[in-house]
């Protein structure tokens, strides 16, 4: 059910990403001050925005999970946070590269956005260990949802507070702060990274869903469940998915 139109989505994502990268390198002008280095904003900033939005999506799915008790919402929340974590590592790496190139240091403490992002990543890094440490699947799902909502609320609050505490070094990207071509490419970059996030989310959901269906089939065909002990995993237990089989 998650595999529907996945091929079309994947092709669109590949096309948009390729087009965006082509425009970044061959059409967008070089920055007057930072030169070629500035082009990293077309990767770094969209990645950061999509990561944080992904965490918020995870929190919203977690709210839906606690309201409906449908394990599929827990799965959606898990996959959203999982993919955002991977993207987040990319944000920290690209941010570090940019900081080294632009300010001369790999890490800059006076930079509130960088520090806030690290804090958010440190918090979300405990999401999988938390799931892993709770055996009962339903309790694990509820605890994970409580965590996802708390951490989702922490994201904007934390950014506001850390911003208050430091002077402002990070280049701000409000509308109109970029010249025409840059603005167009930047918006396109956000769209393509968001598409990439969505595609990966759909792929992981499809894979989890297919695994659950496969397990149900194996059980229906008389396979002995006890032969394969359930692997300990931080992922939500797929056997609890409804509407499978």
């Amino acid at each position: 059910m998650y595999g529907k139109r996945l091929r079309a989505l994947s092709l669109t994502t590949i096309a948009t990403l390729t087009a965006t990268l082509a425009l970044v390198f061959f059409w967008a002008p070089n920055d007057a001050d930072q030169g070629f280095l500035q082009k990293i904003i077309y990767i770094h900033v969209p990645l950061a925005i999509v990561t944080l939005c992904g965490f918020i999506v995870g929190a919203c799915c977690a709210i839906a999970h606690l309201r409906t008790r449908d394990p599929r919402w827990d799965m959606r929340s898990y996959v959203a946070i999982h993919i955002s974590l991977v993207f987040g590592v990319g944000v920290l790496i690209t941010g570090s590269i940019w900081a080294k190139g632009s300010w001369g240091h790999w890490w800059v403490w006076s930079e509130p956005t960088l520090v806030s992002f690290l804090l958010v990543m440190l918090l979300y890094a405990t999401y999988q260990p938390l799931r892993f440490a709770i055996e009962d699947p339903e309790r694990q799902a509820r605890a994970a949802s409580v965590f996802a909502i708390t951490a989702g609320a922490f994201v904007p609050i934390n950014f506001a507070i850390v911003r208050l505490s430091t002077q402002y070094v990070h280049p701000r990207l409000g509308s109109g702060s970029l010249p025409g071509r840059m603005e167009v490419v930047f918006l396109l970059a956000i769209a393509s990274i968001a598409l990439l996030w969505t595609t990966l989310w759909r792929y992981e959901m499809t894979s989890k869903h297919a695994a659950a269906q496969l397990r149900t089939l194996a059980r229906l065909l008389g396979g002995d469940e006890d032969d394969v002990p359930p692997r300990r995993s931080a992922a939500p237990s797929v056997t609890h998915l409804e509407g499978v089989g």
């Binding site: 958010v120 405990t126 440490a133 605890a143 409580v146 708390t150 934390n158 507070i161």
Partner: protein, 228 residues
């Protein structure tokens, strides 16, 4: 049987927790001793006899936070291991009452901890005299403690029934408490400087807002952690 009033339930739960603490001395003495030991560690680690300003505020708050983590880790252990949760769930009491009682208990632990830790800090490490700073400091301490109490209650309940609760407690609570340390340390900094500066109202407001937001979140989500 009619459900008892929330206030009575909270009072009963709080009395139970404080009585257990008074009989066993499980948390607060360990927290206090830990804080004094940490001050000694900072003396050797920093190679400084006296601290003032931002360094003093930072050392004080980081120490209080680490001591708080000890209390957070133990907060729900008795309830999880000796059937306190089950007994509470069997009663018709409102579940939010347990969250409120635990937060109040943790707040109490923190205040008692500070009765030891702050004089010890003033005696061992603080350069400027503490007298003039005290009224402002008490206000900042209470606001910081409220944040610790609220977040500690939520995280304690989240971690207690997992296999790795001693690890998860600090890992979950420390990032969530960074804004509390940040606000509290920045509010404390002028108080521990010479000459003593005014109380930064902006940071008191930020701390209070953070406490309030997480109190609402903890209260809204606590129910889901109790179910079986």
């Amino acid at each position: 049987m009619s459900a008892p009033g929330t206030r009575a339930v909270v009072a009963a739960l709080l009395r139970k927790d404080l009585r257990i603490e008074l009989r066993n001395f499980e948390s607060v003495p360990a927290m206090a001793l830990f804080s004094v030991t940490t001050f000694v560690l900072f003396h050797f680690g920093l190679q400084r006899d006296t601290l003032s300003g931002d360094l003093a505020a930072g050392v004080l708050w980081v120490t209080l936070l680490f001591a708080a983590v000890l209390g957070i880790n133990r907060l729900f252990v008795a309830d999880a291991e000796q059937g306190g949760f089950d007994a509470f769930l069997l009663s018709p009491a409102d579940r939010g009452a347990l969250a409120l009682a635990k937060a109040l208990a943790l707040l109490g632990y923190m205040l008692v901890l500070e009765l030891v830790a702050v004089p010890a800090f003033a005696l061992l490490l603080l350069g400027p005299p503490i007298g003039q700073a005290l009224p402002g400091l008490v206000l900042v301490l209470v606001l910081g403690d409220l944040g610790v109490a609220v977040i500690g209650t939520l995280v304690g309940a989240l971690a207690v029934r997992s296999r790795a609760r001693d690890l998860l407690g600090p890992l979950l609570s420390l990032p969530l408490l960074v804004p509390v340390v940040l606000g509290a340390a920045l509010a404390t900094k002028p108080l521990l400087s010479t000459p003593v500066g005014g109380l930064p109202l902006r940071w008191l407001g930020t701390l209070a807002a953070y406490d309030l937001v997480f109190a609402l979140i903890a209260f809204a989500l606590f129910d889901f952690l109790l179910e079986d």
